[in-house]
């Protein structure tokens, strides 16, 4: 795992390797980030499901799509 540094003043390019410690830290943080993402995606999925369910209940009450849009937007 590297970082590439381009010096705009000199034009020199330097490929710098991450230290073992930096890599370990990155992997640990990546795992935590993935967990956070999964939680957010589940939250969004639940929100979408709630919306669909709510719309269906309004339709069951006899509201048209336009009427539902008018009161929910």
């Amino acid at each position: 795992m590297h970082r590439l540094v381009v010096n705009c003043e000199t034009g020199e390019k330097q490929l710098v390797a991450y230290t073992a410690e930096e890599i370990a830290g990155a992997e640990a943080e990546a795992a935590a980030a993935n967990e956070e993402r999964a939680a957010r995606e589940a939250e969004d999925a639940q929100r979408a499901a709630d919306k669909e369910s709510g719309n269906q209940k309004l339709k069951d009450l006899g509201l048209t799509d336009d009427e539902i849009a008018a009161i929910t937007s």
Binding site: M1, H2, R3, V6, C8, A30, A33, A48
Partner: protein, 197 residues
């Protein structure tokens, strides 16, 4: 008359580069904006999902970011509305919000085999007494598409650093991850002068 100068450029010759830094940016020149153009691909590994993000840091201060953008499903009716995340999401575009947020190329029908992502970052400089103070960036990205889909999105990103801009780093995904830009990915930094003249 505005002039655009190429300050630095590079093309990767390996699959292990996580970030590209442009350093040594002169503080004496009269650049009013900076712009990074890149053409890049995510290097795939078994532990590497299809999703990709771009993050940046200015003067070693890493950005936060606010999602915003438009995602195309490849049809007139599949274009989602602009949206925002963070508790103020707009009604439109929910279907695609997750995919856009994490830029999961596969989920939106993208295909790395079809080409590279194109990424443009505009870095405005505050003028006057606070000239060259840089704290916010706008980023636009498009991703390779299959035969039916396309994807374009934008992020507003921010850092609290208000010192002169001397270096900027673009990361493959967030700085804390170990994803890599693929070989042959290219990055260019431009300085724009006298855009008001």
């Amino acid at each position: 008359m505005a002039t655009c100068e190429l300050l630095g450029s590079t093309t990767l010759d390996n699959n292990t580069t996580h970030s590209v830094t442009f350093s040594g940016i002169s503080t004496s020149d009269d650049y009013q904006q900076f712009e990074i153009l890149s053409s890049c691909r995510l290097y795939e590994t078994t532990s590497n999902p299809q999703g990709v993000e771009f993050w940046y840091s200015v003067n070693s201060t890493t950005s936060g970011y606010v999602y915003g953008g438009i995602v195309s499903q490849g049809s007139e009716t599949g274009i989602a509305s602009p949206w925002r995340d963070g508790g103020t999401g707009q009604a439109g575009g929910h279907t695609y919000r997750n995919n856009a947020s994490y830029w999961n190329v596969t989920a939106i029908g993208g295909n790395w085999a079809k080409g590279k992502a194109f990424n443009r970052i505009l870095i405005p400089q505050a003028q006057g007494d606070s000239r060259r103070k840089c704290a916010q960036i706008r980023m636009w990205t498009s991703f390779p598409r299959n035969d039916s889909y396309g994807h374009f999105s934008s992020h507003f990103m921010y850092v609290g650093d208000t010192a002169d801009l001397t270096s900027i780093t673009l990361y493959c995904n967030s700085p804390s991850t170990s994803y890599y830009f693929a070989e042959d990915s290219s990055f260019m930094l431009y300085g724009i002068k006298d855009s008001n003249a």
